[in-house]
């Protein structure tokens, strides 16, 4: 495993934790809280649930810290625990219902071009809906690769599946996402056409009523 500076720093902090420093563990949490949150969110799709999953991941890390394998990067281990917990959450809660788009609306600090921002948020919500309909094993690999930007090798280390299986699932996931998106778009356009037709009928019957 190539040792990055971040990995070295994490290992130093972990050693301080193993010497009994809870302050060091707080530092470790603060360094990686965003990473854990996003890893959970990519799978779970709900911000509050993802925060809970990410916190639980750190609690598990604390309890298992003495078993940490210093030949691996801490981030790999954290991803593994977080993704496990996120999938566990999904299985307990069946399907994710809805998208908490309002939470993300509040998160935007830049209020310029609000229409563009709104369009982007709507698109994100639609993408989330399609992603949530993928089978969890394909969703997980797709989320880790295309949303978190992890390599196939990193995903293999995190999930414990072979590199070849990662690439196969990625292949299937991207195809399924594309097909699901096409179905979603077709349905959406059909719904819009029906709505337009109904409005047109309603206004023409109003006109007919007025004329008579």
């Amino acid at each position: 495993m190539p040792i990055t500076q971040q990995t070295r720093d994490d290992h130093e902090i972990i050693r301080a934790c193993l010497d009994g420093s809870t302050e060091a563990f707080t530092v470790l949490v603060q360094r990686h809280e965003k990473r854990a949150f996003w890893a959970a969110y990519r799978v779970v799709g709900d911000a509050d649930a993802s925060r809970d999953v990410a916190q639980e991941a750190f609690v598990r890390v604390w309890r298992a810290l003495e078993r940490f394998d210093f030949s691996m990067a801490f981030t790999t281990w954290l991803y593994r625990i977080t993704v496990n917990l996120a999938i566990d959450h999904l299985r307990r809660n069946k399907r994710h219902k809805g998208v908490d788009i309002d939470l993300f609306r509040e998160g935007l600090a830049d209020e310029s071009a609000p229409e563009q921002k709104e369009g982007s948020r709507e698109l994100a919500a639609q993408v989330r809906l399609v992603l949530d309909n993928l089978d969890e094993k394909y969703r997980t690999v797709l989320a880790l690769r295309d949303l978190e930007g992890l390599s196939s090798k990193q995903i293999s280390d995190i999930t414990g599946i072979t590199h070849a299986t990662v690439r196969w699932r990625l292949h299937v996931a991207r195809k399924q996402f594309r097909e699901a998106w096409t179905r979603y778009e077709t349905r959406r356009k059909t719904d819009l056409d029906i709505a337009r037709a109904e409005r047109a009928n309603a206004s023409s019957s109003d006109t007919a009523t007025l004329d008579s």
Partner: protein
């Protein structure tokens, strides 16, 4: 190949061949473009900012959730060091060698959930959703052989501790054995639990030598 090529995940040896084909095949090129558009849509999701305040007080809450009564890493005894796994297989004279496996959603014990020194329990992992991905189970067994689990100061092992240990250790997708056994025994007055490798073929949940129907601990 196209779904992999669009993300740069194709084996580099095949890249030039695929590119040459795309230059000559309108159908494949159109599909390649659609897949590219799909990745652009995913990128919109990847660029979302953090919800405002979602991580406020995150670290403080984590530290509050950690049970201060529960020993942290340095207080655990005995503690051989960061790499706790003992890879040698240890034969037990008193009981069959077994192994614990946990997949997400698996629950090890019934609601009472506690074992005392000298007891054993057979556990049936929840295999729903498990997928075999070709990683040999035996390799995982060997990796966990002899691993020591932390016990509470009372010497008792909680189901929660076992589940958490496995959930942080067991890789996703590796098939679980049909059943495993945990043995809790004392060494020199210090309570320890040792896991050993081979799945037991017994079924049901047994505590204190009495076989009982397994109850799910949700």
């Amino acid at each position: 190949m196209l779904p992999l090529h669009v993300g740069g995940d194709l084996d580099p040896r095949h890249g030039p061949e695929v590119d040459a084909h795309l230059n000559n095949c309108l159908v494949c090129f159109a599909e390649f473009r659609e897949l590219g558009a799909m990745r652009s849509r995913l990128a919109v999701l990847a660029e979302q900012p953090l919800p405002l305040g979602i991580l406020d007080g995150f670290a403080e809450e984590v530290m509050a959730r950690i049970d201060v009564g529960e020993p942290g890493p340095a207080a655990e005894a005995p503690s051989p060091g960061p790499r706790q796994r003992i890879f040698s297989f240890q034969k037990l004279s008193a009981a069959a060698a077994v192994m614990l496996v946990c997949l997400a959603g698996w629950r090890a014990f019934n609601d009472q959930g506690l074992m005392s020194d000298g007891t054993s329990a057979f556990l049936r992992p929840d295999l729903s959703g498990s997928v075999s991905d070709g990683v040999p189970m035996q390799r995982q067994q060997a990796a966990l052989d002899g691993t020591q689990l932390p016990t509470a100061p009372s010497g008792q092992l909680s189901a929660q501790a076992v589940n958490e240990f496995l959930e942080t250790t067991w890789p996703l997708g590796v098939p679980a054995p049909s059943e495993v056994q945990i043995i809790l025994r004392s060494r020199g007055g210090v309570p320890t639990v040792t896991l050993h490798g081979q799945a037991s073929k017994a079924s049901g949940l047994e505590r204190d030598g009495q076989r009982q129907p397994r109850q799910r601990n949700r």
